[in-house]
Amino acid sequence: MSDMLAIEARDLTKRYDSVNVVDHLNLQVKESEVFGLLGPNGAGKTTTILMMLGLTEPASGAVSVLGFNPTREPLKIKRQVGYLPEKVGFYENLTARENLRFIADLNGISYAEANQRADEALEMVGLTDSEIMEQLGPNRKIEKTVGKFSRGMKQRLGIAEVLIKRPKLVFLDEPTAGLDPKGINQLLDLISGLPKIGTTVVLSSHQLYQVQRVCHTIGILAKGKMVIQGAIDKLGREALAGGRFQIEAETEAPSEKLIEVIRGIKGVGSLEVKDNVLVISTDADLRREVSKAIVENNFPLIQMKIQEFSLDDVYMKYFREE
């Protein structure tokens, strides 16, 4: 990760029929990071991506992608940027390689180079020969047309197509849609490897746990507004106004002194007392320290529970606010 910005949007707004579907969006994506755009259906994720590619014009606000304005200099961006639409479609009468070669051709890549890159890209996304070829006669194999591909194979071919132009930045709109668990794992591994080869990734998704696995930074969109944005490891704490863990320890008639001692433990955020139960927010798993403090101060430890708050809770919180 570097500190250079790959994308910077300021007050980006898109209106359809006088409704702001993207509403004064501010967003920053650093170079060589994986940025996850989360949000419920209709939040404006796709619209945001389209504006960054120059496929849709913003109503107001400004965005700069790799230093260029998508409305004024779309080609400069498109030369360096890959895009996987949410509904991938291919020329169904062509084979996988023919589809890839066409895209390479549009990017001015020579035939020989395109062939080599196509092989590479197909391998990266795990489309094996046995998947893209079909038997024709007893010992003759030909390449299948994409019309005969399964949904997941098309999705992977879409990723291959994005990679074939060796982009500096890729937009993946729901890249894991339609993939089986193995495919999802492979794809997530692939995505987390992209920053190492200098590619910045912006992906949109509803699947929080996948985003958590690969993204460095996330932004949660709701009704066109960015409700929260930040590095993934800091986000949970910030959003829950306290720790990522919540420890509930039941004892008998806790004294002020005990509470003071527990408050003094390093890493404890807030502490509430509900009858005999201490509700402690921490930013690490402090069960041992808490139980030790209780016992050493001669209080009984009746039971203890720990709950880890994940981004899920943050995410659900915003979704429930719908």
């Binding site: 496929l55 890959g82 479609g89 291919f90 020329y91 169904e92 895209i103 549009l106």
Partner: protein, 307 residues
């Protein structure tokens, strides 16, 4: 843009549509030759226009090649263009292509040019076929002038096809559904080739009634009818074809009896024929250009979403 032309051409020539169109072209060539074989002896063609007669004479049942072409070319143009944009949009390929470093207009330019090349191949094949077999049949080689006239006809036919191709592409941009763009293109073709002939007298009678039956009234009525039908590119094409390939036709308007008596039954010279059809050619070209320009404007402003 060349990438798009290459791909579209490859698509066209391997598609079933192309094969079907090509079979139609072959059938039309055969029918045209058949008609010429039946009719060419009866048609007393002046010297120097016999070879052209191959293309323009009709048989007892089979109409002439040029008439068949005027019906067939729109069909081929429509077949090549009616799903140009909306099928890509529905298939989700449009947004992927437009995310590549290509100008948006090169998508339609590429498709249009690939279509024109395909049309050229078809029309060229047809003319060569008929010319070749016809030469064999009548044994009279074409004069230089006839060859030039045929070249003009070739060009005119491609422009005519390009108009229908452009119109079909325009409909494929306007209508999201392939069925809608196909139906509208075909409806327009029917209208321009048949219905306009049926409604033209009606319109003319309404504007210039021939109640008294005077000569002036009749002429005005007739001229009006012509004017209405000339809104149809099909009629424009047919008229231009006639002038180009039947040099005996000296005028497209009506001649009074007195004028006709003074008319010398000599074929028009090449230059005069071209002068006569010049407005037709330019109108056909500008019609194609208008279709194309409207497509361009609409397409540039359209929302491109995968969904």
């Amino acid at each position: 843009m060349f990438a798009i032309i290459r791909k579209e051409l490859a698509d066209y020539v391997t598609s079933i549509r192309f094969v079907a169109s090509f079979i139609l072209v072959l059938l039309v060539s055969v029918a045209g030759l058949w008609a010429a074989r039946e009719g060419i002896r009866g048609a007393s063609l002046p010297e120097g226009t016999v070879f052209l007669g191959l293309f323009t004479t009709s048989g007892t049942v089979v109409p002439s090649l040029t008439y068949l072409v005027s019906l067939l070319i729109p069909i081929i143009g429509i077949a090549l263009g009616f799903d140009a944009i909306n099928s890509e949009r529905a298939g989700g390929t449009l947004s992927r292509v437009l995310a590549q470093p290509v100008f948006r207009d090169s998508v339609i330019n590429g498709k249009f040019l690939a279509g024109v090349v395909t049309l050229t191949i078809m029309v060229g094949t047809m003319l060569l076929l008929v010319a070749g077999y016809g030469l064999n049949m009548i044994g009279v080689p074409p004069s230089a002038e006839e060859v030039i006239r045929l070249f003009f006809y070739f060009f005119l036919t491609i422009v005519y096809g390009a108009f229908w191709l452009g119109l079909a592409i325009l409909f494929s941009i306007v209508f999201q559904r392939v069925a809608a763009s196909l139906l509208f293109s075909l409806a327009l073709w029917l209208f321009f080739s048949i219905f306009i002939m049926l409604i033209a007298p009606g319109i003319a009678n309404a504007i210039a009634p021939t109640a008294d039956g005077t000569e002036a009234e009749l002429i005005r009525n007739f001229e009006l009818q012509r004017m209405v039908t000339r809104f149809s590119p099909n009629i424009l094409f047919q008229e231009a074809t006639t002038v180009l390939l039947v040099p005996l036709v000296r005028s497209l308007g009506m001649l009074s009896v007195s004028q006709a008596t003074y008319m010398v039954p000599n074929p028009l010279s090449l230059g005069q024929s071209i002068l006569l059809v010049w407005p037709h050619i330019t109108s056909l070209i500008s019609l194609s250009a208008v279709c194309f320009a409207v497509s361009y404007v609409l397409f540039m402003r359209q929302e491109i979403r995968a969904t």
